[in-house]
Amino acid sequence: MKTTLNYSYYPGCSLHASASEYDLSTRELFKALNIGLTEVPDWFCCGATPAHNVDELLSLSLCAKNLELAGTVEGDLAVACAACFSRLKTTQHVLTENDVKRTQVEKAIDAPVKLDGKVKHLLEILAKDLGLERLAAAVNKPLAGLKVACYYGCLLTRPTDVPNLDCVEAPTIMERVVEAAGAETVAWTHRLECCGANFTLSRPGVVIQLTNAILDSAKAAGADCIMVGCPLCHGNLDIRQKEIEGVYKTNYNMPVFYLTQLVGLAAGLSAEKLGLGAMIVNPMPLLKEKGLL
């Protein structure tokens, strides 16, 4: 396969910390698929979920500055985290539509705003730019027999008025990607419900309740594991799982993979390269049982 695709890469804060395995698996998978990734120099926080609730100008300016930095690297901007993706897209949308806000932001960042670059989530790159056929062709260890519950959470397809990567209420892009990798997907009810996100610190009770409903629904649908594209969702579903099992006196034992980890497995990458050891709910027994290691 010849290298035709090159992207600038915005990992976001989580991928340099709690979700380092998402970062690792993204880099390894793209290397395996011959897709170029160049990290945006000197990038910083996008403001994520708190900033825009506190100060809109601040949140827009943070993203505008990051977009400006991204413009210094060749290629569309690849984003892994759902929250970063949502914020960067929203900023582009708001600043395109609203001249007053654009002027304010330009004053704040002391530079003209660049809105012509495309912001793409990894899913879009795999499903559309690379294409499902080429993705399927790169699979040498199909995830045969693995039943995956694709979990979108809130931010991958939202807000509704921002042009997005898939249908807001009935998206299929995750299913299409992981099916191209040879897995089965399950039809389940909670793939778009909120996990509680960053309330995990301030209102853990709420998060435990919401996340339990998601795990319960995935299990009821017969899923072996959950696939996510957001570090925050991952945190709640994976890290809190043991605690939830205790609260609700149940047993899920449901590994939670990043999409790059599952697609990476199918592309023949090793468990070390995909950071599978960093997962709290140990996926090894499941992968061994399915003959995927």
């Binding site: 509704t160 807001v168 209420e169 009935a170 009810t189 778009l192």
Partner: protein
């Protein structure tokens, strides 16, 4: 020499606040040709008009300029006054010194100078005005009503009872429309069939009504009083004159499992069918897509059993041309569905409700069929999936309506009331059952409506939850309804046996295509547009075409019936005269200059330009020129602007008049 009278209006203070009206009257009085000029506080009032009439007679005025508001407001008023004083009304012009001057300026000096110039222009223009005779066109006293729902039925009966012929065209095999599908009607709970079917029979028996069912409008030509309408009568495959309506064909038809659209596809019908037992006409139609004979060439059982020999497989679609004087459009509505929409559609579906794939999530009209005594369940509320009686039922309002994110921002108007009715019907039919309603606001502006809604809560035990539903999903044999109760500020989850969605009212599919055939305007949703939202609510901007019912916007039955009777009254007003008078502001062709390029014909939006042959005395063709039919011409002036040889002129707006106005500046 013209003796022009100029009358400057103060419009209370609307004009005189900014414009020095006395100075305008003085200055304009000095213009050549002006014989009289004065100002008055309210020119449009009775004393104002008398002042104008008196001046015309005493001063022997030849032309009149009234400097006041926009001609859209009062041109008719002043022309009538001028006519009453014995002058041709088209020798009166209005100078707009209100909207074009006093309302938009602040500086009194500048506004006054501008007003003088505006009046001066109109003085020069009116000098060139010609006497225009009123145009009369004959009226065919016969009307077409499109759509045989309650709106079309009411309009047809009213017009026919007045003694005029009516052609009623209905697309479906039977008249009745949506009202025939309803179970009971708010706010009195009388049975819809009981009040509807007698009217349907009246239509069928009325000597002045000619009914075309299973028919559609193919083409509309002509203009007010003189339409030619081509109707396509689809092949019914049953001879209406021979059929006695005995129904043997239907009992013998082997195709018995075709979902009946009338029953919202819950009940089944045969391939030769009437949509419901009380259909009018009671003549079956063969659904050729599902008939064994038409699919395989074998069977023909219906033909064999038909005593009178009415079944005719060879029948063809026929085209019928009718001469019509006025048209009432009453095409009604379709219901929004939550199913997935094509990519790029401005209207979106409800993916969060499973795009309509959960069997026991139904819409309001399906609930009507379940509740109807003549419906597929005989009036029992049963789940489509397993035929069980739902013990917990959730009604959700505003589905598609008031949902900008789904592409529809309007309120569908009837859902609050019919949902309240549904909770009552449910409470009566399912003892021990519990109904919940998710709603945004209860909109009950109608006689007895709010009382009815309160009754559903206070006496019929419906639990109303203010808030919307974010998701529906199937869990076992239950449907989980996830919503919010914003009064309490909590998330709620209800495990329901059945969910009923109050889906939005949309115009009929293809409403835009019919509008294009009729030449009437429609809004972005394809609802037909009335000529004026308040003062001309049943007339189209296109003369001779009137609107009734939900094709113009969501409406309940009382409102639809009122509008239908109003449209009928408008038709009867038109038919009260033998000749129709119209404004003579029409285009005329100067035949000597016309080279017959017909550029005017191409741009005419009204289809008013015809080809006219000019022959010498021996009958040899000299040339073909354009002719503008004054009955059809809309007076827009597009042909005048287009004509390369300057051979078309719009009466009242000639080039000479416009140039005179410019030169006066």
């Amino acid at each position: 020499m013209s003796r022009i009278g100029v009358f400057i209006c103060h419009c209370g203070e609307n004009i005189s606040r900014t414009v020095d009206v006395e100075r305008v009257a003085q200055e304009v009085g000095r213009l050549p040709g002006v014989a009289f000029s004065t100002d008055y506080k309210y020119m449009c009032s009775d004393p104002g008009q008398n002042l104008l009439k008196k001046a015309i007679q005493e001063q022997q005025l030849s032309h009149v300029v009234v400097a006041a508001c926009s001609p859209r407001m009062h041109e008719k008023t002043f022309r009538k006054a001028v006519e009453a004083a014995g002058l041709n009304p088209f020798l009166c012009e209005m100078a707009n010194i209100r909207e074009h001057c006093s309302w938009v300026h602040e500086n009194r000096e500048e506004a006054t100078i501008k007003a003088i110039e505006i009046v001066g222009m109109m003085v020069e223009r009116v000098k060139k005005n010609r006497i225009l005779p009123t145009i009369t066109v004959p009226v065919t006293k016969r009307s077409l009503v499109i759509g045989g729902g309650i709106a079309g039925i009411q309009a047809a009966l009213d017009i026919a009872d007045c003694g005029h012929e009516v052609i009623l065209v209905e697309r479906e095999p039977s008249i009745g429309g949506h009202m025939a599908q309803l179970s009971e009607t708010f706010p009195t709970l009388d049975c819809s069939q009981c009040i509807m079917t007698p009217k349907m029979v009246d239509v069928a028996n009325h000597p002045k009504i000619k009914l075309y069912t299973y028919s559609e409008i193919e083409k509309v030509e002509g203009y007010i009083g003189n339409f030619q309408v081509t109707i396509k009568k689809r092949a019914r495959s049953v001879d209406e004159d021979k059929c006695t309506g005995c129904g043997v064909c239907m009992t013998k038809c082997p195709q018995k499992k075709i979902p009946n659209k009338f029953d919202r596809n819950i009940g089944m019908r045969t391939a030769i069918y009437v949509p419901f037992p009380q259909a009018v006409p009671n003549t079956p139609v063969i659904d050729r897509d599902n008939c064994t004979w038409f699919k395989t060439g074998k069977c023909g059982v219906c033909q064999k059993v038909c005593g009178p020999g009415a079944v005719d497989f060879e029948q063809q679609d026929t085209l019928i041309v009718e001469a019509i004087g006025a048209i009432v459009v009453a095409t009604g509505f379709d219901l929004y569905s939550i199913s997935e929409k094509p990519k790029g559609s401005p209207i979106k579906g409800y993916g969060e409700f499973g795009h309509g794939k959960i069997p026991d999530v139904i819409d309001g009209m399906t609930f009507e069929r379940l509740a109807s005594a003549s419906g597929p369940t005989g009036g029992k509320i049963l789940r489509p999936s397993d035929g069980r009686e739902p013990k917990q039922i959730v009604f959700i309002q505003c589905i598609g309506s008031r949902a900008r994110e789904k592409g529809i921002s309007y309120c569908s108007k009837v859902c609050c009331m019919y949902t309240a009715k549904h909770t009552m019907l449910y409470h009566h039919k399912v003892p021990g059952g519990q109904a919940y309603v998710f709603f945004m606001d209860a909109r009950t502006p109608g006689k007895g409506y709010d009382e009815f809604w309160r009754r559903s809560i206070e006496e019929e035990e419906a639990v109303y939850i203010r808030g919307m539903v974010s998701r529906l999903y199937q869990k076992g044999d239950k449907i989980v309804v996830m919503g919010s109760d914003i009064a309490v500020g909590v998330q709620v989850e209800i495990e329901a046996d059945m969910v009923v969605l109050a889906t939005a009212i949309q115009p009929r599919k293809g409403a835009d295509l019919l509008a294009q055939k009729l030449g009437i305007s429609y809004d972005k949703y394809n609802f037909y547009s009335e000529a004026h939202a308040k003062l001309r609510p049943v007339e189209c901007a296109t003369a001779g075409i009137y609107l009734a019912g939900a094709c113009q916007g969501p409406k309940d039955i009382p409102e639809t019936v009122s509008q239908a009777s109003a449209a009928a009254a408008k038709v009867m007003t038109l038919f009260s005269k033998d000749q129709l008078e119209r404004e003579p502001i029409v285009a005329r062709v100067r035949e000597t200059g016309c080279v017959g390029c017909f550029a005017c014909k191409k741009v005419c939006a009204y289809g008013a330009v015809e080809e006219k042959e000019i022959r010498d005395r021996q009958g040899n063709l000299i040339k073909t020129v354009a002719y503008v039919n004054p009955g059809v011409c809309g007076g827009c002036g597009t042909c005048q602007a287009t004509c390369p040889s300057k051979s078309v002129e719009l009466d009242g707006y000639t080039d000479e008049q416009i140039v005179a106005m410019i030169e006066a500046l």
